[in-house]
């Protein structure tokens, strides 16, 4: 078996068949000297669907990813440590009052992006969040209409075969989920008990792992290693759900291909990308360049591409590239039960309550949801060391209670703030590129939201009969912002079509474009916007406006 990190696999007219051990599928290849219609940098929640839909609509597309092209059936160990291979582990400097821990906490490096290790929670935004400035009084308005997004959410849910309930308890009507909801595990049941005791609704969580066979994907077998890569292909990551479609439609994927700089020509338009693959720098010509590298690498690339014409980086006339970085609060309440919970069985977040996303009777802005948890041993031990400062014999004894632990974890909305940002450090990485510096501090509103959530989660756990509860107060996850969309070039980087205001053939299509981040996990929204962007590009092309 070859090492996925040693040399590219998608070469010589073929790419790995992720569904067959040792299998290959045909792949079209484009020449570097002829401009392709689209180069897309990043193949994750944003890049994956965009590459696919552009290719299916007849454009020539090359998707680049700095990470390897994994074969889940062969490359994925059932092990927390070995699966560090999925993460973006290159050096990044973090500072500010509340430095964000990166790596496995929020960034992937693989064909399929962070969706290869994401927890599969697939939620829609509350409609008002698309206009949170005008309707709710905080953040910024999106230039998108929620009713249009509702359609694209439906499309994304069908493409990803989301498993979920027949009726979802919050928000406007939505169609039933394509696949039936998964069975709940013990931890999910405890969340439900706690929610009912509080008078809140709860629901099985809509998840991107199939509850019945779909094509070459077998149903989920509840191994619980989802965050470390799904070795059975039940999980509908982009690697499994979209990229094979993209190849079939004639897109090319270049794995282990790090884009270091976007080139612009005399007319100020993007002309292609410099990328490092197989030991040397190369150049791919393109008529359009789409950046989809997520909220750290996207601004880093735009800033690293500064040149004489654009000394502050590309698409940055507003000065907002890298600014308004948002993470999500990810605090938790944990405790023990007499019962054997065995929370590692099944996907980690099988039930959810979005109560506080839809109830506005609170004295701060933004919302949050919380979900059942099932951390594996290493994650769990770092919760105990980080939250309780335990070590020594005490720690070992506490770990022996693993099968009796239970808990809930929030995903909370943090507000955009220009001072939370990505800049370039002077240090360089293995490619000779300046590494990002990530500066983050929580605001008063963020702290108020966290305090509210911790209090409610704690009460619900106690009412559900959980003992010895404690709070994990400092965790965050998910990223957004840094190239926000808007309707005014002075206060945003891209427009509603994800097209940059400054350079008409440069686009951004990933989590970076979020003006606000909402109180739910972001990927489904990223993918829905990518599907919309592909349709918009087609419409613009048909009108000769590309």
């Amino acid at each position: 078996m070859s090492d996925p990190l040693a040399a590219p696999r998608a070469i010589q007219g073929r790419a790995p068949d992720v569904f067959r051990e040792g299998g290959w599928v045909e792949m079209r290849e484009f020449s570097e000297s002829e401009a392709v219609d689209f180069v897309v940098i990043g193949t994750g929640a944003g890049g994956g669907p965009l590459i696919t839909r552009l290719a299916e609509q007849g454009f020539s597309v090359v998707g680049f990813d700095a990470g390897p092209y994994f074969r889940p059936l062969e490359d994925f160990a059932s092990d927390e440590t070995a699966q560090n291979q999925l993460y973006w582990l290159d050096e990044r400097i973090v500072d500010g009052e509340n430095p964000i821990r990166m790596g496995g906490n929020n960034s992937g490096k693989a064909v399929g992006g962070s969706t290869v290790h994401f927890a599969m929670v697939s939620l829609r935004f509350r409609p008002e969040w698309f206009k949170s400035r005008s309707l709710l009084g905080y953040g910024a308005d999106w230039p998108l209409d929620w009713r249009e997004m509702w359609d694209y959410y439906g499309k994304a849910e069908r493409a990803l075969s989301i498993s979920g309930p027949v009726t979802y308890p919050w928000g406007p009507k939505r169609p039933r989920y394509p696949y039936r909801a998964h069975e709940m595990n013990g931890a999910a049941e405890v969340l439900a008990r706690g929610a009912e005791a509080m008078g809140y609704k709860w629901s099985p969580t809509p998840l991107a792992t199939v509850s019945a066979p779909r094509g070459d994907s077998p149903p989920c077998v509840y191994r619980g290693f989802c965050r470390f890569g799904c070795s059975t292909n039940a999980k509908q990551s982009q690697l499994v759900a979209f990229i094979p479609r993209a190849l079939a439609a004639g897109a090319e994927i270049r794995d282990l291909a790090m884009v270091g700089r976007i080139e612009t020509g005399a007319d100020g338009r993007a002309t292609g990308v410099h990328y490092f693959r197989e030991g040397r720098w190369r150049f791919q010509r393109a008529r359009n360049v789409v950046v989809a590298g997520y909220a750290i690498e996207t601004p880093r690339l735009l800033l690293n591409s500064a040149n004489d014409r654009y000394p502050d980086g590309l698409a940055n006339s507003s000065g907002l590239v890298g600014r308004n970085l948002m993470t999500q609060s990810n605090q938790a309440v944990y405790g023990s039960m007499k019962d054997e919970v065995r929370w590692n069985k099944g996907p980690p977040s099988l039930s959810i309550t979005e109560h506080w996303n839809y109830d506005d009777r609170k004295d701060f802005f933004g919302g949050y949801c919380w979900m059942a948890q099932g951390p594996l041993p290493i994650e769990w031990v770092t919760v105990l060391t980080g939250s309780l400062g335990l070590w020594g014999e005490q720690l070992r004894e506490r770990m022996k209670n693993y099968n009796h632990q239970v808990g809930v974890k929030m995903v909370g909305e943090m507000l955009p703030n220009e001072n939370n940002r990505v800049t370039l450090a002077d240090e360089t990485d293995q490619y000779g590129l300046r590494i990002p510096r990530i500066t983050y501090s929580w605001g008063d509103n963020d702290k108020a939201l966290v305090a509210h959530a911790l209090d409610k989660m704690q009460t619900s756990m106690e009412l559900a009969g959980v003992r010895d509860t404690f709070q994990q107060v400092d965790d965050t996850n998910h990223l957004a912002g840094t190239a926000r969309m808007g309707s005014d070039p002075r206060s945003s980087v891209v427009n509603a079509d994800c097209r940059s205001w400054d350079i008409p053939n440069l686009w951004v299509c990933d989590g970076s474009i979020f003006p606000t981040t909402g109180g739910v996990n972001p990927s489904l929204t990223i993918s829905a916007i990518a599907l919309r962007t592909a349709d918009r590009i087609k419409a613009l092309a048909d009108r000769g406006e590309l």
Partner: protein, 212 residues
Amino acid sequence: MTDHFPGYDVLRKRRTPSWDERTRQAINDRLSVPREPRFLSPELFAILAAACGRIIPQPPDRPPVPVAAMVDTKLFESKRDGYRFASMPEQGEAYRRGLRGFDDAAQSLHGRRFAGLEPAAQDQILASAQKGELDGPAWQGMPSKMFFEHRLLIDAVSAYYAHPTAWSEMGFGGPASPRGYVRMQLNRRDPWEAAEAKPGEEDRVRWENEHV
């Protein structure tokens, strides 16, 4: 310190449908990690080994976990975390400074090397680091609290809980691919999961655990 899962050894499942080839390979590599340091000097490695022994003591009745060697391997292979606090140097340098800092504290408090101290004295120095109280030339401005909490402690426990000995001791099912789990509800155990012993049930539970 009772054994909650008598007779449970996750390695017994190695040849069952709970372990696939890739997983067997990953765990074999881990079990055969060289015990001699390859990154740290023998002198610093001795300090690391002593500190790890206090941070996560070895179980009395199961195969020992080479925690320090696993941490040294992480440094040797340059396996990074994906971020670095601005107040911290790169991981190898952090260990060089922090471990020397422990030794300096041992010298100034007890006139001896850290590795040769009584466990209680070692604990005291580690606890001072946790509170951020250690300082001196060896640290070169690196906060001892950051080194303890975000470097040493995380690396040591991440190594220990990556080892089958730890999984057996805590009753964790371990690898689960391709066979996952079937019985999802509270208080339900699949036959290939660890059984927990309540007082008086040790013999039956031991039998169950020998048949996972």
